[in-house]
């Protein structure tokens, strides 16, 4: 797979009365043809700036941006408009034209592209059918629910058959059920039409639902990225771990840990559950071999992209040397474990 979008050491800063704000800092990124990339980060992390760099609504302060064969950073404004016609975008607040009907909204990019009647009407009907809103063609945006508005937004963004779709917090204004519907539609857009999608969000649930790969942004940088399963199973930065914890409640939070400690005098160890079968049996045997008492005190196992994912927290009691030996043996066998005492000391 070749890269459809490539950012090379891109930085973007804004001059404000309060001084220079760096929204994106020395960021490099590749998005492969046909994938769904999720970009997650807290408010102000620079996510919106990142997508606006990809469709050249913003010019980087330094670095280069490529989409397909075009180097956006080398093109004049007039050519950039043509490039933008080939990139769809949907928004948190939908941004539909209130002065136009649903059909009029979807027809707008087609008019820009010079598509004539009756071809235009036919395309509009096909797109509205795809998003399931054909019967609303003559309604105005204010007559639609939030989910329907975003469907219109998606139909409008797809009007010119773009290769790339940018979704900036596209589900953040929707309730959970509608969010799931819209995400499912985006997944269909990706699978059936082969459109590459960049999904910007601050909700890990959205990433979990549709993304193939995830990039975690913090203070204008991508601090961690990789296949969704890997980042969920083994987040290596605190930022990523915090986001994972919002959807997987299998690791104890700091508060939970304090409560667990009060109730359980032994040592607390959290194990990441791998995909292979027989994991708990493997643990039991190692504890038994070293004469260590054990009890599961927290945890859960779920599913992500049809693979098991989860963590279990054990209370271990016995001689310190015996527990250390058991843990060392497990580590030697490649078991991913964290002793909560260590973690506490590290973060304190």
């Amino acid at each position: 797979m070749s890269a459809l979008v490539r950012l090379e050491a891109v930085s973007k800063s804004y001059a404000t009365p309060a001084g220079t704000v760096t929204a994106v800092q020395d960021l490099s990124l590749e998005v492969a043809q046909g994938e769904i990339l999720g970009v997650i980060g807290y408010s102000g992390a620079g996510k919106s700036t990142l997508v606006r760099l990809v469709n050249a609504l913003e010019k980087p302060t330094s670095g280069r941006v490529f989409v397909g064969d075009d180097e956006l950073t080398a093109l004049p404004e007039k050519r950039l408009r043509e490039v933008r016609r080939e990139i769809g975008m949907i928004f948190q607040q939908f941004n539909l034209f209130r002065s136009r009907t649903v059909a009029g909204n979807v027809a707008f990019p087609l008019k820009l592209a010079g598509v004539k009647q009756p071809e235009r009407d036919a395309r509009v009907a096909r797109l509205l059918d795809f998003v399931g809103l054909l019967e609303k063609a003559h309604a105005y945006p204010e007559q639609l629910s939030g989910g329907q508005k975003q469907r219109v937004g998606i139909a409008r963004a797809l009007a010119t058959d773009p290769k790339l779709l940018l979704a900036d917090e596209a589900t953040s204004a929707l309730d959970p059920e509608t969010t799931a519907d819209v995400l499912a539609l985006l997944k269909r857009v990706n699978r059936e039409l082969g459109v590459t999608i960049i999904v910007i969000t601050h909700e890990m649930e959205a990433i979990r639902a549709i993304a193939d790969r995830v990039a975690v942004m913090d203070s204008g940088r991508i601090v961690e990225s990789g296949p969704v399963y890997d980042v969920f199973a083994h987040p290596s930065t605190t930022a990523a771990a915090r986001f994972v914890a919002t959807v997987l409640h299998d690791r104890p939070s700091a508060d939970t840990l304090t409560r667990l400690r009060a109730a359980h005098p032994g040592r607390l160890v959290t194990f990441a559950v791998p995909e292979q079968k027989g994991f708990t049996g493997q643990l039991s045997r190692a504890f038994a071999d070293h004469g260590v008492e054990n009890e599961i005190v927290f945890g859960g196992i779920g599913e992500l992209q049809e693979r098991s994912i989860g963590a279990l927290t054990y209370e271990l009691t016995g001689a310190d040397a015996a527990i250390d030996a058991a843990l060392d043996a497990l580590r030697a066998r490649g078991v991913d474990l964290v002793e909560e005492v260590e973690l506490e000391e590290q973060t304190a």
Partner: protein, 219 residues
């Protein structure tokens, strides 16, 4: 009352003159003001045609001219009126002066209404690859049409007011009729008839404007 019946021709042509002054200047200042207002909006920092120098210049000009009392503006603009219309009295001269004077007020009305247009839809149009002029014509103005229509209705009332003031310089219309046939001859019947007629015209204008605005806003 006899005086009124004797001057009924003058009265009827005064109504026509008032309507002409208000409507013709509505069209001219409407278009001119729309152009200046759109420029003010678009050249603002962070907007479609961002241009600090152009914005500052236009803004200062509007700020200087707009607050000038209209009676004084009428006199101040006389040299220009003579050049363009050929005379500084009469309905055409008055219409010219009203149209120019009102343009600056219209510019502010337009600018303020456009600022209220959701920046998100402008952003969406930009993301679709639309150029600035296209966005102004096919997104910005249609999106702002409801409030703009209300602004223009408000303007129409102001134009009737200005046309009456133009009566002072022999501009014709109901204002001049009320002065020369009414108050100067101590004929209060005629004054009140002129006042009542103006009230009716204003109400009609309000009614039509509100209807149009409601249609644009679909309420």
């Amino acid at each position: 009352m006899n005086d009124f019946i004797g001057s009924i021709d003058v009265y009827l042509s005064a109504i026509w003159q008032t309507l002409f002054m208000a409507l013709a200047s509505l069209v001219v200042s409407g278009i001119l003001g729309l152009a200046i207002g759109v420029l003010l909006y678009a050249t603002r920092p962070g907007h479609l045609l961002e241009n600090r120098v152009a914005y500052t210049v236009i803004n200062v000009v509007v700020n200087i001219i707009r607050p000038i009392p209209f009676v004084i503006f009428l006199i101040a603009i006389e040299p220009l009126t003579i050049r363009v219309i050929g005379t500084y009295i009469g309905v055409y001269a008055a219409t010219f002066a009203i149209a120019i004077g009102a343009s600056f007020a219209v510019a502010r009305i337009v600018e303020q209404n456009l600022v209220g247009v959701d920046p998100g839809v402008i952003e969406a149009a930009r993301a679709m690859g639309a150029g600035p002029l296209r966005i102004i014509a096919t997104v910005l103005i249609p999106e702002g049409l409801g409030p703009l229509t209300l602004g223009y209705t408000f303007l129409f009332v102001g134009l009737i007011d200005m046309s009456a003031q133009a009566g002072v310089i022999g501009g014709g219309g109901l204002g001049e009729y009320a002065i020369t046939w009414g108050s100067q001859r101590y004929n209060w019947t005629i004054v009140y008839i002129a006042v009542a007629t103006i009230i009716v015209i204003v109400q009609l204008g309000q009614f039509v404007g509100n209807r149009l605005a409601r249609r644009a806003l679909r309420r």
